[in-house]
């Protein structure tokens, strides 16, 4: 049956909106929970009340965000079944496993401990509470690991093979799925980005208090923690982002070429286009400002390997589509005559290209009927949206370098104890608040929009993965999401601003009612 293109478009739109929305909350949870763990560790080691109050105050904001993260996360799990049923059936054997393990190993722990984090202060010992916070932090990052193992497999589907009897992909080596280099690179890059975002959140709001002269000691300490953690995280985002770039160039050559707007293969070592205006119609990039060698080094870790351009990759795709049609034909033959040795041999030789034949399903029911013009059309469809990727990537990278600089300067000023005297820096920190969100969302665009037209790279085209639902049904749910998500965004923002404005002083958390413990006690706690 021919797939309704409206359903495809609407389902993709809905998935993108809900994923981008979910990803507003996830990185903050990932980052701030480690900052809480660091602050609480200092509290347990020194016994100084201010650190406990810091954990409690930032914990309130964490709690508001966490609720939104949980609420919008359920949508992601539901949606694979609701809107991507053929996808769910086609890859559930492989893709579902990391999701289930995420629940068992990480999310269960995280969700069970989060309540105790809030209400446990008077019910369990200091050390027990610290352990709760640490396990909470560990579990959130572990959760990200398993989600990115699943996502990494979509980008680089290792450890699996097509089974014609069950019409789906099945696991051949779970170790390969787990130790997928793309998944590993994406995991460290993504959690580091979350740590940067969490740090910026604490940094910006603390800077606001300092600008107002409120909660001064509280805010300075918070900024120091945020700047140190943020600097380490920002460095790791860029370095590990580069690692992620290398992994992409190894297995998603088209995505790499699109990010670079590299229309033709360049002689090695390829140059990096710092700036330019990609022209999709004429397959060229105007006003390109190129830095020699850099792309070759990032993409191939060498100076003698070329990076293939878009034109070459489209030619490759044509060859793979032709092979895929052979595999598709053999599969249909085997369905009638399951002992046909010749068909078995053809399928075994070309089943890796089956997905390329499925690209034709957007245009026709039976890929075997494809004309050379259809094949050209399908091959052209493997080019993702070049200008969007080109710009999203550059903006994201620019943000990344800016974060390193900002955190470094704040860290330097904090170590000189000059933070409250540098008002320009405090203002800069305050106004930088939205940037990590922008960078994180752009990162999602580069990774997932850049994966198009594939749901699973080279295996299953996105258009084929949709459910057999009607456009009306998807309109209904999409409208519902827009309505409810907008309302929740307003409520979330209002509450966040309300509690950030109230601040530790307004919430009665600072200054503490009881005096700070005398120095001797502090020394005793610190084990001096």
């Amino acid at each position: 049956m021919i797939i309704d293109p409206d359903v495809v478009t609407l389902s993709r739109l809905q998935f993108a909106l809900t994923a981008l929305y979910h990803f507003l909350f996830v990185p903050l949870t990932l980052g701030i929970v480690w900052i809480l763990a660091i602050m609480e560790s200092v509290y347990v080691m020194t016994g100084r009340e201010v650190w406990k109050r810091m954990v409690q105050f930032w914990g309130v904001l964490f709690g508001i965000n966490f609720a939104m993260g949980v609420a919008t996360g359920v949508t992601m799990e539901f949606q694979f079944g609701m809107n991507w049923a053929y996808y769910a059936h086609y890859v559930g054997d492989v893709f579902g496993t990391p999701l289930a393990i995420e629940g068992l190993m990480a999310f269960f722990l995280e969700a069970t401990l989060v309540g105790l984090f809030f209400v446990g202060w008077d019910r369990i010992s200091r050390v027990a509470h610290l352990l709760v916070t640490w396990f909470l932090a560990l579990a959130t990052s572990l959760s990200a690991l398993w989600i990115l193992v699943a996502n990494g497999w979509m980008q680089n589907p290792v450890g699996s093979a097509f089974n014609a009897d069950t019409m789906r992909m099945e696991v051949t080596s779970f170790a390969d799925v787990l130790f997928n280099p793309v998944a590993q690179a994406k995991f460290v890059h993504t959690v580091s980005a979350g740590y940067v975002l969490g740090s910026m959140f604490v940094l910006s709001i603390s800077a606001w208090y300092l600008l107002r002269g409120r909660n001064v000691d509280f805010a300075k300490r918070s900024m120091t923690v945020a700047a140190s953690f943020g600097l380490a995280a920002a460095l790791s985002v860029v370095v590990l982002g580069d690692e992620s770039g290398y992994a992409v160039s190894e297995n998603q050559k088209m995505k790499m070429a699109a990010i670079e707007a590299m229309w033709e293969t360049e002689p090695a070592p390829a140059s990096f286009t710092l700036f330019g205006i990609p022209d999709v119609e004429n397959h060229t990039t105007h006003y390109a400002l190129r830095i020699p060698w850099v792309m070759g080094l990032i993409g191939t870790r060498s100076i003698d390997k070329p990076i293939p351009g878009i034109a070459n990759l489209v030619e490759d795709a044509k060859g793979r589509i032709n092979n895929g049609i052979l595999a598709y034909d053999a599969m249909l033959v085997l369905r009638q005559d399951k002992d046909n040795a010749q068909a078995k041999a053809i399928l075994a030789a070309h089943d890796k290209d089956m997905g390329y034949a499925l690209l034709l399903k957007r245009f026709m029911d039976d890929p075997r009927q494809a004309t050379p013009a259809d094949i050209q059309k399908a091959a052209d469809s493997t080019i993702p949206n070049v200008p969007v990727l080109f710009w999203a990537f550059r903006l994201m990278v620019a943000c990344g370098f800016y974060f390193i600089a900002l955190f470094a300067v704040v860290f330097w000023q904090a170590s000189k104890r000059q933070l409250d005297k540098r008002r320009w820096l405090l203002k800069l920190a305050l106004w930088s608040l939205p940037l990590p969100w922008l960078a994180a969302e752009l990162g999602w665009v580069v990774a997932e929009y850049g994966r198009q037209p594939w749901a699973i790279e080279g295996v299953l085209p996105t258009a084929l993965g949709v459910s057999s639902v009607t456009a009306g049904q998807v309109w209904t749910s999409l409208g519902g999401f827009v309505l409810f998500y907008s309302a929740l965004a307003v409520v979330d923002a209002v509450l966040m601003v309300k509690y950030a404005r109230k601040g530790p002083d307004g919430l009665g958390l600072w200054p503490p009612a009881e005096p700070e413990p005398p120095v001797a006690t502090v020394a005793a706690h610190a084990g001096v």
Partner: protein, 376 residues
């Protein structure tokens, strides 16, 4: 280690265990949410009710998330067909799952009667919607749902949202609603301040009774008014997971599996024993009462699962496309690996969940919430 047939049976059991885990652990959260305005007459009383579940509902909900994830991984066809087929019904459930966490968290964040009343209604609605629709969905499994596969195993569904509202399915929805309201009331009787608990005792009595009546009626209707499905011809239990390789007849009895395996009768017996246990212990031995209502919930789900055996999702449109435990599972390797994960992690989950509940034990009193202001 295990052969394919055993793994499929084990994963069928695990699906049931996860579902029971969800219904027992999160069911009372939904029950409390739905009864919030009935049991709690003032804001303080509602705070008491909410505080009995606030620190733990999040962990409880993971039984559901995990159930979904495990269905995706172990029964991909079941997950794909049911979620896409019952699209709008599932979307309503999803909305409830989106609004509930924010409701719990945001309600206490503003001291304003209208704000809190709004979220109380949201929580009530989320509870009722999930309890009712889960039951209606279960009811539809017995009626068979209108889907079929093509040769490439692409599923198509030929029915509307309103067709799901068959009277039998609605009755199943009532079973689920009454059962989980009773379960929530038993929790309130166990953990809430006596003022609230006394009201909960009365609610628990009536809802358990309503549950028992609906459950019996549903059983009778199933025996005399709903035709069952049966696999025709040889049953291949370790074949490839392709539903189209079998023949299915519609017209047998859903009690056939009870005749084949008489020990299945223990499930409805357990459900009734639980209901009777609630009536005997409610208001007197509150922990025992909560355990009894948990057994009632478990017994009910087992009764339904056993009747369906070996079907997961029968198709009335094209019975051959029906999903059974023998042809809708993941590959043997995936089932084995996931089993290993379950064996390692479920005991750990039970241990740390048990610890958290132990830390938080005891009644939540009105005095306590008046002192602490709002939840968190």
């Amino acid at each position: 280690m295990f052969d394919y047939e055993s793994l499929r049976v084990i994963w069928w059991a695990l699906l049931g265990i996860l579902l029971i885990g969800f219904a027992v652990m999160d069911g009372f959260d939904f029950g409390i949410a739905a009864l919030l305005r009935v049991l709690g007459r003032s804001d303080d009383e509602r705070l008491v009710l909410l505080e009995t579940i606030e620190p733990t509902w999040e962990g409880n909900q993971v039984w559901f998330i995990l159930g979904g994830g495990a269905a995706f991984a172990a029964w991909p066809a079941l997950y794909a067909v049911s979620f896409s087929g019952m699209y709008l019904a599932i979307f309503l459930v999803l909305l409830a799952f989106i609004l509930r966490p924010v409701g719990f968290n945001f309600r206490g964040k503003v001291r304003d009667a209208r704000w809190r009343s709004l979220w109380d209604w949201v929580l009530t609605a989320s509870g009722v919607v999930v309890m009712l629709i889960s039951g209606v969905a279960f009811g539809n499994l017995f009626l068979g749902v209108p889907f079929q596969f093509d040769d490439n195993l692409r599923m198509s569904w030929h029915g509307s949202f309103f067709e799901l509202l068959h009277p039998f399915a609605l009755l199943a929805g009532l079973v689920s609603l009454a059962m989980l309201l009773a379960h929530g009331a038993c929790w309130a009787a166990y953990r809430a301040d006596h003022v609230v608990a006394d009201r909960a005792v009365r609610v628990a009595r009536w809802t358990t009774l309503a549950y028992a009546v609906c459950f019996v009626l549903a059983g009778i209707w199933l025996a005399y008014g709903v035709a069952g499905y049966a696999i025709v011809g040889p049953v291949v239990t370790d074949g490839v997971s392709n539903p189209l390789h079998k023949q299915v007849a519609h017209g047998s009895s859903w009690f056939a599996s009870y005749m084949q395996y008489p020990w299945f009768w223990l499930a409805p017996v357990l459900a009734f024993a639980g209901a009777i246990g609630v009536q005997l212990s409610v208001g007197r031995k509150n922990l025992a009462c909560f355990i009894a209502s948990s057994l009632m919930v478990a017994g009910t789900i087992l009764s339904a699962g056993f009747a369906l055996f070996p079907f997961l999702l029968p198709s009335r449109l094209d019975p051959r496309s029906s999903l059974t435990i023998w042809d809708a599972s993941s590959s043997q390797g995936t089932l084995g690996l996931m089993l290993a994960m379950v064996v390692i992690f479920i005991p750990l989950i039970i241990i740390y969940t048990g610890w958290v509940y132990r830390v938080l034990r005891g009644r939540v009193t009105l005095d306590h919430v008046r002192q602490s202001g709002h939840g968190y």
